[in-house]
Symmetry: C2
Subunit: 409 residues, 2 copies
């Protein structure tokens, strides 16, 4: 008897999270063992409210798979809800919903917290003797999930950050004088995305000349010394820093920048803004800071073709794994080689990856914490290759449209 599947998306957005959904849907459409393809709106939170939609209905054209893959963020919506540890009534509610909709396979596309949900649910279903397979499909711009070579969504953010820095170097170096731009890049604990700024150098510019990751303790004096060593060059100095930069005592660098805003509230300056002020104070040169903010995880118009196609693949492989009987697993990328670059997928036990963080290895951080190694560059380079398919109508992006009619059971 055919089983229905249920898919959810959770956590913070990336531009590849719909590509993985697209891959799950495409592979499910191909399978004769799969009946309905359901989506839950706003993750587990929406599931508990039975906000379930029929995904098949929204696919009417063969281009829809690529169009969904070119749509940023979660088309199904997201949530920040983390399933409480069992026992908890939510588990029985979820099981009842799964039975009502005849769900045999559950796919959850998300980051750390979402993998924890997959872990809890698969353990619960197993304990109850239910054959409901639970597969986690990773995503995060932070690239901080263990057991996978890299995570879907990371490479597109990396491509956007490095491309923008390469362009801004061209822009702000037209004046033949020394000046500084500090770019603040996402990454609270893991510096992968900040490290990727180094790829801008492959466009033929020296920037970013300094790179600081949260993994290495930040020394303001050495930092200023290094900035000063560049002042004799009549050119633009670009510095890439992680938002989560910390001092040797573990305090966030940005905490030092706490001031009062125009209304007297204490306001934390961003790390980039604080370093801008530090340079202004101690070096006295022309300096500005730029925060990529949400732009870096939403820029589908600059997505990596490699990222988007791999993100579709990992979704497809997730369906294959579930059909083969896997449950309580996360899908992972295995890099089989760099020349030529080749990546495969495998499933890994979810308890080995849920709630764990993969940070940048110390030996990939060089020059007293102000640069990254050639190993890092070799790791990063293949990931950002190619421009992903992009759809445009009248000059504006043309996104996938999901029919959000609720299916009641």
């Amino acid at each position: 008897m055919k089983k229905n599947i249920l898919i959810g998306q959770s956590g913070g957005p990336t531009v590849a999270i719909n590509a993985s959904l697209s891959g799950v849907v495409r592979q499910a459409m191909r399978s004769e063992e799969i009946g309905e393809i359901y989506g839950m709106l706003n993750g587990i939170e929406g599931l508990l409210q039975r906000r379930i939609v029929d995904i098949r209905k929204s696919f009417t054209d063969s281009e829809d798979y690529a169009r969904l893959a070119a749509t940023p963020a979660m088309i199904l919506g997201s949530c920040r809800f983390k399933l409480p540890a069992p026992p908890h009534e939510a588990y029985d509610q979820i099981l009842q919903i799964f039975k009502d909709y005849n769900i045999g396979m559950f796919f959850y596309i998300g980051g750390n917290d979402s993998m924890d949900t997959v872990k809890q649910l698969s353990a619960f279903f197993h304990e109850k003797g239910e054959d409901i397979r639970c597969v986690g499909i990773p995503k995060t711009v932070d690239n901080d999930l263990p057991l996978t070579d890299h995570t879907p969504g990371f490479a597109s953010a990396a491509k956007y950050v490095a491309t923008s820095i390469a362009e801004v170097y061209r822009d702000s170096s037209v004046y033949d004088m020394f000046s500084v731009i500090v770019f603040e890049i996402m990454g609270r604990n893991a510096g992968w995305l900040t490290a990727a700024a180094a790829l801008a150098r492959d466009s033929g510019c020296p920037a970013p000349q300094m790179i600081y990751l949260p993994e290495a303790p930040f020394d303001p004096d050495k930092f200023i010394e290094k900035v000063k060593s560049h002042t004799t060059e009549k050119k633009l100095l670009i510095i890439a820093v992680s938002e989560g930069l910390k001092l040797a005592n573990g305090d966030y660098v940005s905490a030092a920048g706490a001031t009062k805003d125009a209304f007297g509230h204490v306001a934390l300056a961003g790390t980039g803004k604080y370093l801008e002020e530090l340079i202004k104070d101690r070096v006295g040169c022309k300096v500005r800071s730029v925060e990529f903010s949400v732009l870096q995880r939403a820029a589908s118009h600059c997505a990596s073709a490699t990222d988007i196609s791999e993100s579709m693949m990992i979704g497809e492989e997730g369906v294959r794994a579930a059909l083969a009987g896997k449950t309580g697993v996360m899908m992972a990328f295995i890099r089989e080689g760099n020349a030529p670059y080749l990546v495969g997928c495998k499933s890994v036990p979810i308890e080995q990856c849920a709630n764990l963080e993969k940070i940048v290895p110390a030996e990939w951080i060089t020059d007293e914490g102000s640069n990254v190694s050639e190993e890092m560059m070799e790791y990063l380079r293949p990931l950002v290759k190619g421009r992903a398919p992009y759809f445009e109508e009248n000059g504006m992006p043309s996104f996938f449209v999901l029919d959000k009619t609720i299916v009641s059971k």
Copy 2:
């Protein structure tokens, strides 16, 4: 006898200023009346130091024209130097340099100040009885030059801003709750680029729901009232504001946000940051501000095909005008129709445009200064159509490389 030509670039960067250079070079290459094609490094400032290069040398492949057009900012470098009013020794120096290099035509690609330089030089050469033709080719992301339907570079910045807002709406609306993002967009006195944020709606999203231009006096109380009227909607409110927003008394809104930075220096918050703090204080909801900063004028990876091809055309037409004997002119776009969109070029007397600003007409600003009219949308729409050619190598932008060997005479 063949005449040599000299080209310079000046002012603030855009992504289309090299497309205009490419157009000048291409048309000059086609002409039998033109000998050498010289470029001045860092505008008039570099010219006075005789920093002159041979541009022909850098063109070795037919793809080079498109590659130069896809390279952001000024490949020749820029300057902020404005020629002092005559009489001044700089004029005689420049005439001598022009004679030494046998320059018969001078093309200056830039904004307001650059057009003033063209005006001064053409008047000076005319007074001296020299047949040296001076043609200004406009550019500015601000779109604030008079007598031209629009300016090269504006539409690409517009496309980037609107595309990014459309993507961020997708990104930050995944959580089914009310929140606010304020985008600060370039434009000190003219709100064209901020108005272009409205194009994001053509991607099928309601954002930006509020738009504020510097042309309309800003009322903080009415602004907060309007924000509050959105709080019942469980969705993201995006507000687009010009950096140059002013209160009814003429003060910059951002001046109200003056605080002390972490080092005790008085720091002006940006307009977006100040409005973020105002909303936090008076509405108390989740709010963040994003400043496009230099990203918006450097993003060649999101350039408008219409803008880049028109920017090449206006460069070509500049050469045709000079060959036809025109001098003391600025090249301008004439819109011949919207359905189908058709644009031509003509030359206009430079004294009619130098040092003048074109602002957004009052009747194109609607809803008590919080939106733009359908006329504005019709004006903007054709400009952002199409994705411009883009060159990439190993995932990073591949830019045009200029041979900067100085040619001494």
